[in-house]
Symmetry: C2
Subunit: 449 residues, 2 copies
């Protein structure tokens, strides 16, 4: 009987997984029956911009924290699909740090090219997944939002492609419940111009804090104070951005920091990260981890150790994104197709332990980059994902780290070479700090000339 | 064997239900085993103010839309508990339109008095309820948020007390996705001072729109434009508030209305109502209705017609609130205790049809008040809930409607007489429009002299 595979989510991971199977089918392989459940009305996951916050028109939690005027914060060359390059899609070289719409067009371009839409059920969130020991299959309860009806289907495999940047981690602070302005998590950030003329307090020390602080200043915020828990980002911030240690309390509009300094602010933006949150999985299937380079419990970073018919894509803290999802998807596909044999429980446990032990020694971003590069290579060599120069991509990440140190407002004006095609990206026609229009049309119009 | 009753939610409805059983026990009656599952860390439902929006620290959707500086918008005399009056709780007469903290203190005061906390499991949302035909019982899956673990328990009865003001109804408007300011639903409104000096567009024609518009102006908004779909509220608004017909589109900051007028605004607040949303109930148990005076499918407004062992409290559009929940809770209790016999399917259907037919004739707020008063009386006469002068309460509502017509900023300065005790409320020491401190201490300190 044909096997059935449920893919949960039609964002980058889900689309990578569908593409992996579709590529095998193109090559003449018999593939299982695929069903991809997507809770949104469109695909692309986080890259599918949605103005809603909180809940959507069906009362479902809004998935995405995507905001307007977001530009890639890493070189696009490091996330390029080796089987569908930027050259394939755009037919000309484009810059290395494109705005959201460009990347959305690229991701969904490959999906359209492969007619992957036929596998996707939109407006259909997965509500619960249970593994039935007696049948060795998964029961997946989904809701058709348009019809307002639930149903349960049975699958041989379940692949979780829901991402882990959808449900905020929200810390508490003394006095925050009486703060006389907006208090929000980065997940609800949509429109920087809301904060023109305002004094912002951004809490956090990672990518969201960095990008929201810079973008808000770019669009006219009066000042941005970034409060970190453990370590300042330490970039050479432009005038208007300062870093302070941890917020200790709020008194009316006044923020007090651990170093005794204070600042009066109008708005608080919690860039405090996200939870790995899978409320639709029964407990024994549910990954519980913070954001880290190698979450334990996942063999090869993919297969749920206790039940490898359940897979997770993209659950790592990521340097590589789309390209890593691709390689994971190809690997997962080959296990489902029986091309790759799963080892014994003991071997799985040992392999996980080996990676986790190395992960725990990582002392710098460069070591993290090397770690994830090695992980990618190990998986890549076992699958027929097209070759690309991953060492070049790794070098790009290191150059990019240096570029950010050199100029946090200018690093997006650099240009990189494709590890897939060797194409050299053009320098952008407008420096990022001056580029206020983030549309694809504006970005591509005069690009490269 | 002892029967088990699950009560979902420890807000006003859930606490009414617990109190109903506890009162029977005080009178020497044997009561079933009660378990009340509450997803928040505290009780009081919407009245339990929470600064979070979106999701809570556990990643659960935030329940409440309560905001700071909310004062009762109806006379407290119309929602008084007949078995625990305001005099019982506060030991002195208090004003008719108290701020949130006062009502919270009152609701939870009765609960503490009856030691109802012993029945409540906090931080424990109900995830799914299924009725098992073969056993005639409900399987209720709940999550212990603190332990991050789910479990399933079996119950004979389930009483849904989750309210219907938690999940926003969110309409769409042309251009809203590109509006350069905050777009939010009333559910996320917390702090009016965020909008000091701002021009607000409030969309809606009911209580939320009215109250958020007034409150925002009171705390310093530059202007409030209220956009209605069908009918203007038509109050004699203070300077700074205007009403306009339906929003047709947004162009950048400019709102266009159906009458051709325009207004530049900074923030959009959707006061567009809520969904009756019960994602934790299997389809055949799930009430599907818009907000109305008599949702079909509920016998006596309580019992799920297809399976009366499932009950819903407070699912009506409400004039009476706490007092109606009490009477429903007493009635539900007496059915569980076998004191009231349930009629045949046909009689249930006929009774529902009778009420719904009358509901559909209602042409004015006064007729709606009379309708809900009659509903209350019918249930009241069958249970031992203490008597009170419900006609006086109905008259209060009509007076209150007149008071609002007379002065939308001044109606909260009126004072009413208790239908339970006959106590005359004092006139507030400070007119509502000037009362900026909404704390219980400020409200009670000089109250009545």
């Amino acid at each position: 009987m044909t096997q059935r595979v449920a893919i949960i989510g039609a964002g980058p991971c889900g689309l990578s997984q569908l593409r992996a199977f579709q590529q095998a089918e193109e090559k003449g392989e018999a593939i299982p029956e695929l069903t991809c459940f997507e809770k949104q009305s469109g695909w692309g996951g986080l890259w599918n911009y949605d103005w809603h916050t909180g809940t959507d028109p069906y009362g479902e939690p809004v998935h995405g924290g995507m905001y307007r005027y977001l530009w890639s914060n890493g070189p696009k060359e490091c996330l390029e699909f080796a089987d569908y390059t930027f050259d394939d899609h755009f037919k000309k070289p484009i810059g290395s740090f494109p705005p959201r719409e460009v990347l959305y067009d690229y991701i969904t371009g490959r999906a359209k090219h492969g007619d992957l839409r036929r596998y996707v059920q939109f407006d259909t969130p997965v509500k619960f997944v249970e593994y039935v020991d007696s049948t060795g299959k998964f029961e997946v309860r989904v809701k058709n939002l348009v019809e307002d009806r639930e149903r349960t289907e049975v699958f041989d495999y379940v692949i979780v492609c829901t991402g882990h940047f959808s449900v905020p981690h929200v810390p508490d602070f003394e006095g925050i419940d009486r703060f006389p302005g907006r208090v929000m998590h980065a997940h609800d950030f949509r429109e920087a111009r809301e904060f023109t003329g305002r004094h912002l307090l951004v809490i956090g020390g990672s990518y969201s804090a960095e990008d929201i602080a810079l973008q808000s200043l770019k669009y006219g915020a009066a000042s941005v104070t970034i409060s970190y828990r453990t370590q300042a980002m330490g970039f050479d911030w432009p005038d208007g951005i300062i870093e302070r240690p941890l917020l200790t309390k709020l008194e009316d509009k006044t923020a007090h920091f651990k170093d005794g300094s204070t600042k009066d602010v109008d708005t608080i933006i919690l860039c405090t990260g996200y939870l790995h949150h899978f409320p639709f999985l029964e407990d024994r299937l549910r990954l519980k981890t913070h954001n880290r380079m190698y979450p334990p419990g996942l063999y090869k970073g993919i297969f749920w150790e206790d039940n490898p018919k359940l897979m997770y894509l993209g659950m790592q803290d990521q340097f590589y994104t789309f390209s890593m999802f691709d390689i994971q998807a190809w690997y997962a596909r080959d296990v489902v197709l029986g091309r790759i044999a799963m080892p014994s429980k003991e071997e799985m446990a040992q392999d996980i332990a080996k990676w986790v032990a190395r992960e725990e020694t990582l002392a710098s971003p460069f070591e993290q980059i090397d770690f994830q590069t090695d992980y990618m290579k190990e998986l890549h060599q076992q699958v027929d994902y097209p070759p690309f120069d991953i060492d070049m991509a790794a070098d790009h990440f290191k150059t990019w780290e240096h570029d950010k140190e050199h100029s946090i407002t200018g690093y997006r004006d650099q240009a990189f070479k494709s590890p897939c095609t060797g194409t050299q990206a053009p320098v952008p026609h407008t420096p990022w700090i001056e580029a206020m229009d983030d549309s694809m049309a504006a970005y591509l119009r005069t690009e490269g000339g």
